[in-house]
């Protein structure tokens, strides 16, 4: 049976994804995407893949966000 936590986390993911798609400020979108990645990491931990969880936390939430921010700082912030 699905737990409430699972459900909430997945809901949060979807909300984050929609927010990333809708928000016009790129920097905010990237930050929300970082949150999305972290929640994703939690979900993977719950799904029994700690390797993926760690990698996602480091690469998805960490490095990707760095790279996005670096790119935005070199270009422009609004859509």
């Amino acid at each position: 049976m699905i737990t409430v936590l699972d459900f909430l986390l997945l809901l949060f993911l979807i909300v984050c994804a929609v927010a990333v798609a809708r928000i016009r400020d790129l920097l905010s979108a990237v930050v929300i995407f970082a949150a999305y990645s972290l929640v994703m990491a939690i979900i993977w931990q719950m799904l029994g893949s700690p390797d993926v969880a760690i990698t996602e936390a480091a690469l998805g939430a960490g490095v990707t966000t760095f790279l996005f921010i670096a790119a935005i700082s070199r270009t422009r912030r609004t859509e």
Partner: protein, 124 residues
Amino acid sequence: MDTVFRLGDNLYYLAAMVLFIIGFHTMLTHANLIKKLLGMNIMETAIFLFFVATGYIRGGRAPIMQVGQDHLYVNPLPSALILTGIVVAVSITAYALSLIIRLYRHYGTLDANEIALLRAREDE
């Protein structure tokens, strides 16, 4: 009621599909290149979620060997694959970002439509 339960059982797949569609949609319809890239990342993580969910066994444990113990383990193969997938996704993101920066330097905009317009004018 039965349908709801079955839906609940497949919640991860369902969420993965929803995320996939959101990402796909963002990637295709947004003109802003960075938004496209974010959409791409969402799409990819959705696929990874789907993949990991296929290997998940309810009540299984993370596949970490502990001497002298015998457990029901979660299938380790999908997570091993997803590791590779994440790295590939990150490198593609990084490469695309470097291209975007180059484009911005040349065209002064991040809008794919505007860039296409500028290019068409340049070709003439």
